[in-house]
């Protein structure tokens, strides 16, 4: 399910206390929410905390949602604000070493995929990480990503292209050395 196509009625139903709508929203957006938080915070534990808080907040703030056809952007803005609050209050544990082990931590899934993610988190800068992750996990358009990140669309586009180049280089470099 592509998160970009979240139905905004889910949020409207959620505002009326509809648990089934909450479940559906969660299922469609969990990995986008988690991935976006991870791209900002670079830390699994913090990303998990933010993911939890974001869904709780989304449920309680659903009454404030104004239907404008952008339910995912609304949800991701909640995620962004929670992450920024964490960064600002200094409560982010920058346990970078975790990423060195990302590949080994859990055995499931493809090692190659994890290496790509690891490279994305380590080689890209703050904005590039968010752009690349949002692009791959949500299917949102560059313009929509630009809105969420409050950046000009042109910047998002050029950063995206630059990031891909960096990533390709990093991954191929790694491949050679193995």
């Amino acid at each position: 399910m592509n998160a970009a196509y979240v139905d905004e009625n889910l949020i409207i139903r959620m505002a009326a206390g509809d648990g089934a709508a909450f479940k559906e929203l969660y299922e469609q957006t969990a990995s986008a929410v988690y991935g976006f938080a991870l791209s900002i915070l670079k830390n699994k534990h913090d990303a998990e905390d933010v993911m939890h808080d974001a869904f709780i907040k989304a449920y309680s703030a659903a009454v404030t949602y104004k239907p404008m056809g952008k339910p995912l952007a609304w949800l991701l803005t909640i995620v962004k604000n929670l992450c920024y609050t964490r960064i600002r209050t200094g409560s982010v544990c920058e346990d970078i070493s975790e990423y060195e082990d990302l590949v080994h931590i859990d055995e499931s899934g493809s090692v190659h995929d994890k290496i790509v993610l690891q490279e994305a988190l380590s080689k890209l800068d703050f904005e590039e990480r968010q752009i690349v992750i949002l692009h791959s996990l949500t299917g949102l358009k560059h313009r929509e990503i630009a809105d969420i990140l409050e950046l000009p669309t042109g910047t998002v586009l050029s950063k995206y292209n630059r990031s891909l180049k960096k990533l390709k280089k990093a991954i191929e470099g790694k491949g050679d050395s193995k």
């Binding site: 509809d18 479940k23 309680s60 659903a62 009454v63 404030t64 104004k66 493809s110």
Partner: protein, 406 residues
């Protein structure tokens, strides 16, 4: 590796890592995925069970109804807890609620609403369909705040409410103010809304009234402005403060500690960078390490209609003063003044070399791609490039860097 392969890998890796917390969330929110057909009936019964609840719902738009439904449990609790208190109160009072919409509510001695008047156009919007006459002031307050939420006047970034009470009997008025602020805070907390509340008792007089009327602001906002001018800032002027939004005034009120108020939450939590960030920006621009900055302090202030953190510290023979824009972290002005060797605190000769501070640029470190914008957020990420250097040299076997010295 192609673009789409990279995207697929990222997606797969994140999906793999995403924790499953659906059940935990649903139990925390106390919801199930059963369809909730009975929602409306349940609320109606709960509400009707409490005499204080005025069923105004018949006149409400659909949007407001949503707020009522999701907050109804809270409303009922608040009202239930208050019914004893209502029995004999003689205070006739004026309550004003300011977000940016401003609403003035007059109440009778039983704390029932006589009338609710919008102070500005936004407030008309908020009050549009509500009939609050005769309802308990706490119910009315919560309903108005609920409507501000649905109308988008209260958001994560604009999260502050000013609660002002004036009454014939000051003691009763002060008590009412504290109680209203407390209840409103509980209501917002229970609704999981992060908000800041500043409550104040207002000594209303003719001068204040005409000041409020001339400037088209509520009595409460007028009082707060007058109070802020008494907090000893050398920068703020009345004209400056009139330019600020209610949120900004509340933040100033909280930070500068205006007299006699009740304060909940933190207006800073929304869109402001926070004092720590402001301090680190100032230190960085001065090229001074936190450890070597003496007498480091900050004050929240307003200058020319802009909220600032005024950060001051001493390092070496110099005294530094930075005014940092509280929203975007830009430097509004700065001064570096020669103070002479540290001997007696305070004094010192001031050879005023104003504006001559050295600026270190946004980041050192030497990693080019962190430098292309001066986004404050990624400054903290600029430091940690070192660790990924290990991925740059291609000779990593599984043992890391212990094999250097043989």
């Amino acid at each position: 590796m192609t673009e789409s392969k990279i995207n697929e890998s990222l997606k797969a890796a994140v999906e793999e890592m995403t924790p499953n917390m659906l059940d935990a969330l649903m139990s925390e929110l106390d919801i199930t995925d059963e369809p909730k057909e009975l929602m409306h009936d349940t609320i109606a019964q709960d509400s009707a069970a409490d005499k204080n609840w005025k069923p105004v719902s018949g006149r409400l738009g659909a949007g407001w109804m949503k707020a009522v439904i999701s907050c109804a449990a809270v409303l009922v609790l608040v009202v239930g807890g208050l019914s004893v208190y209502n029995l004999n109160k003689t205070a006739f009072a004026l309550v004003s609620l300011d977000v940016n919409p401003g609403i003035e509510i007059s109440i009778d001695s039983n704390e029932r609403v006589i009338s609710a008047t919008p102070v500005n156009d936004e407030a008309k919007d908020v009050l549009s369909d509500m009939d609050l006459k005769g309802s308990d002031i706490n119910v009315a307050t919560n309903a108005i705040v609920g409507s501000m939420l649905t109308h988008g006047y209260l958001t994560d970034l604009s999260n502050s409410i000013l609660v002002s009470v004036s009454a014939q009997d000051e003691a009763a008025g002060t008590e009412l103010e504290k109680k209203l602020s407390e209840n409103l805070n509980a209501y917002l907390e229970d609704s999981q809304i992060t908000a800041a509340i500043l409550g104040q008792y207002v000594n209303e007089d003719e001068a204040l009234k005409s000041f409020a009327e001339t400037n088209g602001i509520s009595i409460g906002k007028a009082w707060l402005i007058k109070n802020l001018l008494n907090t000893g800032s050398t920068k703020m002027t009345e004209a400056d403060l009139l330019k600020l939004s209610t949120q900004e005034l509340i933040l100033l009120g909280q930070k500068r500690g205006v007299a006699n108020n009740t304060s909940y939450g933190d207006a800073e939590s929304g869109k402001y960078i926070g004092s720590e960030k402001a301090i680190s920006i100032a230190l960085e621009k001065a090229g001074v390490k936190k450890a070597s900055a003496q007498n480091l302090h900050y004050e929240f202030d307003a200058e020319k209609g802009v909220l600032i953190y005024e950060v001051s510290f001493r390092a070496g023979d110099y005294e530094y003063d930075y005014d940092i824009n509280a929203i975007d972290g830009s430097i509004v002005s700065y001064e570096k003044e020669y103070e002479g060797p540290v001997a007696g605190a305070g004094g010192g000769t001031s050879n005023g070399s104003s504006g001559s501070g050295t600026s270190n640029g946004s980041s050192g470190g030497g990693n080019a791609y962190y430098d292309d914008d001066d986004d404050d957020w990624d400054d903290r990420y600029d430091d940690d490039d070192d660790w990924d250097d290990r991925y740059d040299d291609d000779d990593d076997d599984d043992d890391d860097d212990d094999d250097d010295d043989d």
